[in-house]
Amino acid sequence: QETRSVCPSCGGPTLAPQAERALVLELAKQQILEGLHLTGRPRITNPPPQAALSRALQRLQQGSVASTKGEEVISFATTTDSSTSTCSSMLTFHLSTPRSHQLSHARLWLHVLPTLPGTLHLKIFRWGTRRRHRGSGTFLAEHHIPSPGWHALTLPSSGLRGEESRVLRLQLDCSPLEGNSTAAGQAQRLLDTEGNQRPFLELKTRPNEQGAGRVRRR
């Protein structure tokens, strides 16, 4: 500590510049972790591929809304097992919505390959992860996809809430729209579920009202 100059606030000796810098960096760490409600910096075990990440961010940039009180989350499908049919798949996502927040908006982004022969009829089911629910799917939504490329499919946020598990499994069941016989025989994959065009969930959460009310009263 330098003795020649005095801290204008507390009258104590001021810190040497390096010591002040080290203190500021420590303060920054605390301030950011507190602001994000984290106890420590996250250890990233499986970061998404850079190309997939920047593509997803570009998509969301187009429709980005003004800053909200809540959070916006992009979650990439981690494992997908495409069943034998041309495009039915099981998508698995790892989500950890903080208890103080609830889901208010959900969209599943899918990239349909150019092999699409016509309009695709897609049904989306939520697959139970608990032992007693395993093997049973809860219907979430159905969509018609008329063209190849990226599509954002709205999901009912109520259907995605609830389970404590951090793993979310979505079963995609798709079939060419009736009357389109050519597609039935084709064996190409219609959905791009790996690589940089893998599916991702776009979620928006907002603070729980009752929680916020309690804070206000206190």
């Binding site: 100059s5 204008p8 500021v24 910096r41 250890r43 990233i44 998404p48 997803a56 989500l95 950890s96």
Partner: protein
């Protein structure tokens, strides 16, 4: 609010830019690359007590004059933030998901005497 100069004894805003690279956090904080960690520092003599920095108004000016002419100081006054703004962060959480969060009151923009 004046930005603190080394010889500024009175209440001012001390600016520090923190680059997330210096914290070794660029691997999980995607955007922005850093942020302003400002804080308030300096003395608040009695005639400045209650002067809200840049938010000063005619009322507070008159109030300060009254106080300056009052021989009995009203107790101590501290140099505190009077205006702050949120900071938007884009980061990877423990599941490898990308999260955009707006952290309220993160950056001190103005200081004043309480």
């Amino acid at each position: 609010t004046p930005t603190c100069e080394p010889e500024t004894p009175l209440c001012c805003r001390r600016d520090h830019y923190v680059d997330f690279q210096d914290l070794g956090w660029r691997d999980w904080i995607l955007q922005p690359e850093g942020y302003q960690l400002n804080y308030c520092s300096g003395q608040c003599p009695s005639h400045l007590a209650g002067s809200p920095g840049i938010a000063a108004s005619f009322h507070s000016a008159v109030f300060s004059l009254l106080k300056a002419n009052n021989p009995w100081p009203l107790g101590t006054s501290c140099c505190v933030p009077t205006a702050r703004r949120p900071l938007s962060l884009l980061y990877l959480n423990r599941d490898g998901n990308v999260v955009k969060a707006d952290v309220p009151d993160m950056v001190v923009e103005a200081c004043g005497c309480s």
